[in-house]
Subunit: 496 residues, 2 copies
């Protein structure tokens, strides 16, 4: 299978033609959330970025196995080798068992992702559910002489690895610079070098999440879960490894090194990284204390927000930038996204209501046909150019001009000819709904519309327009609503 898709590979620092290892199959691994708090805008950007990639690969005809993990153990504060486990610390705050915290925030993450129309990955494995696999991989690294046990913990020996491989290859960091810039922290003396990272950590007596291992009771380091899980479900080498750019170092650099040692190959062919959402140019994060959660956004309850925005508006906001581009939070940008989203939806609605006339005159406007083809081609070219959703949206707005002209009857479908009309409709609908994953979501409450109808009913009654009274009553009855007149008012109730 061939395609024109090019992707930016962080490993080679260039856009490359996408050639899967075993087409038509594609294996994709993406680092999922650490489930110790509600999801925020940053989580949404990562999930939506790889959702777009998942959707477009399927759109191209690939059979994609998409693995995204749940980190429920081993992710320590400051992404380091000391400090409390993030999940366990939250469990103490909420007076819950750690796995109750994991369940609570996994559930809320799933609810949020469903609202954002993010498709579920093919497999969603948890770190705590893959302890034997992680231990086995650590044993392989120890056996290769590139990890050492120290005080019941096991560390990856970066200096030894770097003798035959290149630590820093993925992130572009230079090991000598990193050594110069690193203070020797207290409590890390059990490591030979500050650059070494933990594969297994000895559990202190009060540590709740613990398992037996060849090195005593403990828990896995943060990086080994992704290597072990990816290998189990995608094999030692797979096509795409994804995640936020904030994970590039140390997390992905460590994963690459672990895979190289345990499986004798770099784990992924293409390494893709989404950019972050910033606030005033700063990274957003729970641990940074500046996160706007999705609940904040959907309910308008954060001091930085002027109003609430719906999940679909957030999705549109994120897609307005290519996934590697900068994206800064502002109310103005969200307001513009809302406006753009509604315009796209009105186009969708108009197209779904339009059909090509059976016996229209064939008086084709060639300029219009050429323009439609240009915008349709643009949709594909933009996605093939490293998933440039910003350009896709621009092309869809190009098509929207014609759709609006069709809608207001300034242009008639037969002026396009059937081929151009079908191309317009197919491209617009499939790119909006299937590729970008945007859909019409009415936020209008049923009761608000019913209230308007009941007012009209009362007016008709007082004006003695009984044909209208009866018509409203009958049409609502057909929908399962019965009206009861009272001396002062009208009430409604559900009927069969």
């Amino acid at each position: 299978m061939q395609s024109q898709l090019k992707v930016y590979n962080t490993l080679t620092r260039q856009k490359e033609r996408f050639v899967p290892l075993n087409a038509p199959f594609v294996g994709m691994y993406v680092c999922g959330p650490t489930v110790y708090g509600p999801a925020h805008l940053g989580h949404a950007r990562s999930a939506i970025s790889f959702d777009i990639i998942f959707r477009y690969l399927k759109h191209l005809g690939y059979q994609v196995r998409y693995v995204r993990n749940i980190t429920d153990v081993g992710h320590l504060e400051r992404d380091g080798d000391t400090g409390a486990d993030k999940v366990q610390k939250q469990a103490r705050l909420e007076a819950l068992e750690p796995m109750e915290v994991v369940q609570r925030y996994t559930n809320s993450y799933h609810r949020d992702m469903a609202l954002l129309n993010v498709q579920a990955p093919s497999i969603e494995p948890s770190a705590s559910g893959h302890i034997p696999e992680q231990i086995a991989m650590i044993q392989q690294i120890v056996k290769a002489g590139l990890a050492y046990e120290s005080c019941g913990s096991v560390y990856f020996d970066v200096a030894a690895y770097n003798k035959t491989h290149h630590y820093g290859k993925l992130s572009g960091r230079i090991i000598e610079d990193m050594l110069t810039g690193t203070r020797s922290l207290s409590g890390q003396q059990e490591k030979r070098s500050p650059l070494d990272f933990s594969l297994w950590k000895k559990a202190t007596p009060e540590h709740l999440m613990r398992w037996p291992s060849p090195w005593g009771e403990g828990f896995p380091g943060w990086h080994i879960e992704c290597s072990a899980i990816a290998k189990k479900y995608l094999g030692p080498k797979f096509d795409i490894h994804g995640g936020g750019i904030d994970l590039l170092f140390p997390h992905h650099e460590c994963e690459l090194a672990q895979g190289q040692v345990a499986c004798h190959t770099e784990p992924a062919k293409y390494w893709l990284h989404n950019n972050l959402i910033t606030i005033d140019g700063q990274k957003m994060g729970k641990s940074l204390g500046n996160a706007i959660t999705l609940a904040h956004l959907f309910q308008g309850t954060h001091p930085l927000l002027n109003q609430a925005y719906s999940p679909m508006v957030l999705r549109f906001f994120i897609l307005q930038a290519q996934y590697r581009g900068m994206l800064n939070f502002s109310n103005e940008a969200f307001h513009a996204a809302r406006s753009g989203y509604l315009k796209l939806m009105n186009g969708l609605k108009a197209l779904e209501e339009l059909t090509y006339p059976e016996d229209g005159e064939e008086d084709i406007n060639q300029d219009l046909v050429v323009e439609i083809k240009k915008h349709c081609d643009s949709c594909h070219e933009a996605m093939n150019d490293d998933f440039n959703t910003a350009q896709v949206i621009a092309a869809l707005f190009g098509l929207l001009k014609t759709i609006n002209a069709l809608r207001s009857r300034q242009v008639f479908p037969h002026l396009l000819g059937r081929t151009a009309f079908d191309q317009l409709k197919d491209t617009y609908v499939s790119f909006v709904k299937d590729v970008l994953g945007l859909y019409q979501k009415s936020n209008i409450p049923t009761t608000a519309l019913l209230d308007i109808l009941l007012k009209l009913y009362n007016q008709a009654k007082s004006r003695k327009q009984y044909d209208q009274v009866d018509a409203i009553r009958a049409q609502l009855k057909a929908l399962g609503i019965s009206l009861q007149d009272t001396p002062t008012d009208v009430q409604w109730s559900y009927v069969e």
Copy 2:
């Protein structure tokens, strides 16, 4: 903490006062689904039965840790020790990796449960995610001399166990009868007795789901997962063990034996079992080929169904019987459930619209006050009598008479006095919404109501009733919908 709650304990075959081991904490373990196909009515009954128990325990003020597992490995065909793993067999049929099957049906189970307003358990652990814990427990049983290795598998020695304990205690089966009734099946020669059950199974070369163990590569038996998971999250002894009555033997009998040997205690104080949903008196099951799935029911796409029924109607249908009672599928019963559900919802709507008058006359109708108190007390008494939701619904219908009289102004709130009015409202609303978990779910599409409004708009225009035209336009605008007049029609679109 004290309560009047009594529960039927399968272990003692009687209703017992519910006294938790460590009030106000309650630990509850329930056997969840084997995720190899879509959920059917039987899954809904079990999940809703224990959802009601979870909700009511919380309503009484208990702090409940509710653990419900996901069986994703080790459940073999015919619930036995031979035959294919159900998940792996389905994976072959769908040409997927077993964990993709697990993910697919776990996701669809979660979606269905959310539609049924079943609250998520506190922790939802999977069998494959707890391999070390299961191996550790098997080792304890081997060490106790009550399990033996044979051809790379490990079996529980029922006869040896029965010398000092009572195998059959929970299910009431008699070991001699079981031995007489069991044929010695081919392929089971590695067991000392047909009653022995597997704790660990050796993996054949083509078996995909496999882990290393002290007995070679293999996978856990079906029963050990529940014992290991319950012990990990609820401790060696906890309050309630639940599940469908079809799991009583062998599954729960085996769990009790495993817990007894590994933890030196019966695992649960109270064993609760929900009854099944039958079709023509037969058990419903995927493996029996007669299952009506939830998707069938919600879409009306099963040959036995006359029409579709909503999730809330199914919930009401199930709650019309006490959880241990018989419940047979029929279209008539579903139709009656729909009618009853709508009546309850109209009562909820009426109450939510009613407020106690600020300065009403106090001309209290004592008979009505007594009747309200009687029905409110009935709600509590029924739930305290082994969660008798059928009786709760009867009491709510008792209250509904007064609510309907209030609604139609035949009775005025002040005739009840504030105390009785508040009791009526609080009890009805909290039992319908919080305890029974029923809520108003309008199935009326926004577009159907909009269509009626647009017709009225057109009529008003043709009748030149421009005040009405303007009023409709303005009210819709306030909801984010703008109307565009065309020469022949009116169109609507979303606006900011």
